[in-house]
């Protein structure tokens, strides 16, 4: 299902800066991700987490710096680059007035998936929404909508999945479902970057933790090297240090 492991980093970010006037939202981010890594970025509001994710997703232009997924440069090859991406944000990205199947079929067609209907049904099955395929997306509950959103993001079988505060607005049950799905995605060796300010949720899913404060990556560590019990303490230390 996945492309074979590449020796070079899967995603590489070099010297990434984003400024608005004299305000710097991102101040030189360097980051390499190996294939299959699950990075969770924490940080307070306004630290630049969403900005970073939006730049990786090509929604914002960096002021300077480079991003590559394997060989596809964001500047020279935006179409190829985007074809490898999937994104889940706290917005659902689905059309209220289309049915679940129509929504997925539309996006699948945009991504040039071979058999859009087949692929859409397959994904609805995977997120347990197959029985509701004829429902209008606007009539879904919040949790179901989130599952649809995840299915949507997976249509093009993305190699890099970006999650922007996916837990926002979810009740405990829906959050549990999401947690399960993230585990499943991770098991499938997808490279994942998640942005959240929910430490507990982030800890349970990710393999690598990063802390972003004031546009700088002040901490980056594999999870096995982190003591989960003291991570919260560490997090607040890092915040105050800046």
């Amino acid at each position: 299902m996945m492309t074979k492991l590449a020796p070079s980093p899967f995603l590489s970010i070099r010297g990434l800066r984003k400024s608005y006037g004299s305000l710097e939202a991102l101040r030189g981010i360097n980051l390499d991700l190996a294939p299959g890594e699950f990075l969770c970025l924490f940080g307070p509001n306004g630290a630049g987490k969403s900005t970073l994710l939006k730049i990786i997703a090509t929604l914002l232009r960096p002021s300077s710096g480079k991003i590559r997924i394997l060989d596809d440069d964001l500047e020279n090859n935006p179409q190829e680059y985007r074809a490898r991406l999937g994104m889940v944000s706290h917005q659902s990205f689905v059309y209220q007035d289309l049915t679940l199947l129509e929504n997925l079929e539309f996006y699948a067609a945009l991504y040039g998936v071979k058999d859009p209907r087949q692929r859409s049904l397959e994904l609805l099955e995977q997120v347990n929404l197959a029985d509701h395929y004829e429902m209008l997306a606007g009539n879904l509950s919040r949790g179901m909508q989130q599952r649809l959103t995840i299915a949507r993001a997976l249509l093009n079988d993305p190699e890099l999945l970006l999650l922007d505060e996916p837990y926002t607005g979810l009740d405990e049950h829906a959050a549990r479902v999401l947690r399960g799905q993230l585990q499943w995605l991770h098991d499938q060796q997808r490279t994942i970057i998640m942005v959240t300010h929910n430490l507990r949720r982030g800890m349970e899913a990710a393999t690598r933790m990063g802390i972003l404060v004031r546009g700088k990556l002040v901490y980056l560590q594999q999870k096995e090297n982190i003591d989960p019990a003291s991570f919260e303490e560490l997090y607040f230390q890092k915040l105050e240090a800046v």
């Binding site: 929604l59 232009r61 190829e80 985007r82 944000s89 007035d97």
Partner: protein, 226 residues
């Protein structure tokens, strides 16, 4: 992957939603007909309007009703952040522009299928002009209005005052096009020869070409966040 196919998918998606909800079409046709009636009252009930006034009345109704549909096209994409989903898909902003302009074009054409007959019923008893003579004028104006309108509505939908800003930004830009359309229509209603109308139709075509090109080039800036 052909971009033509992606444009058609996007167009098909919008038309499907529209045919399902019919919210834009119904309000466009209804509001347009309402304006025709209001202008009939303004012109004096029971008075016959001449070709010049009639042409003006028709176009005021069409332009005002078209703005209603235009505002919805991007508002719908903004609802669940779908614009972002389109922007991170392989489709290019230029293709989104073409698809959205085509959606607006179709909506205007469909609403005119109602408005033009209503116009003839209310005002046209003494115009013995062939309604088909209006077709080239309608098509050109629709084209110019949809391309300019798609660009401007992307801008106004990016602000918090979409409904108010859209006509304020759009109408001054398309004033010349509308004025030419009014004059050409007056010629058609008064059954003047077609060759005389070319004098308006040619600059209208030029307007459409210039604004399609400008819209295509500027749209990526209008739709992105930064």
């Amino acid at each position: 992957m052909s971009s033509l196919r992606q444009i058609l998918f996007l167009l098909g998606k919008d038309l499907r939603i529209e045919l399902r909800k019919k919210e834009s079409l119904i309000s466009m046709a209804f509001f347009g007909a309402l304006i025709l009636v209001i202008l009939n009252i303004a012109a004096g009930i029971g008075k016959q309007v001449d070709a010049d006034t009639g042409a003006g009345i028709l176009w005021v109704a069409i332009i005002f009703s078209a703005v209603l549909g235009l505002g919805r096209v991007f508002a719908r994409e903004k609802e669940n952040g779908c614009v972002a989903a389109l922007l991170i898909s392989p489709i290019s902003p230029g293709e989104i522009f073409i698809a959205k302009a085509l959606v607006n074009f179709s909506l205007m054409l469909l609403s005119q299928l109602v408005l033009v007959p209503v116009f003839y019923v209310l005002f046209g008893s003494h115009f013995n002009a062939d309604p088909l003579a209006l077709v080239p004028i309608l098509l050109l104006l629709n084209l110019g209005f949809s391309t300019t309108g798609t660009l401007v509505s992307a801008i106004s939908a990016g602000t918090r005052r979409n409904e108010v800003l859209l006509p304020i930004l759009l109408f001054p830009l398309i004033l010349p096009l509308t004025a030419l359309a009014v004059k050409a229509t007056a010629g058609a209603l008064a059954t003047r020869p077609f060759s005389e109308r070319l004098e308006q139709l040619e600059p209208m075509l030029a307007f459409c070409l210039i604004f399609s090109a400008a819209g295509y080039l500027l749209f990526p800036f209008a739709i992105r966040e930064d």
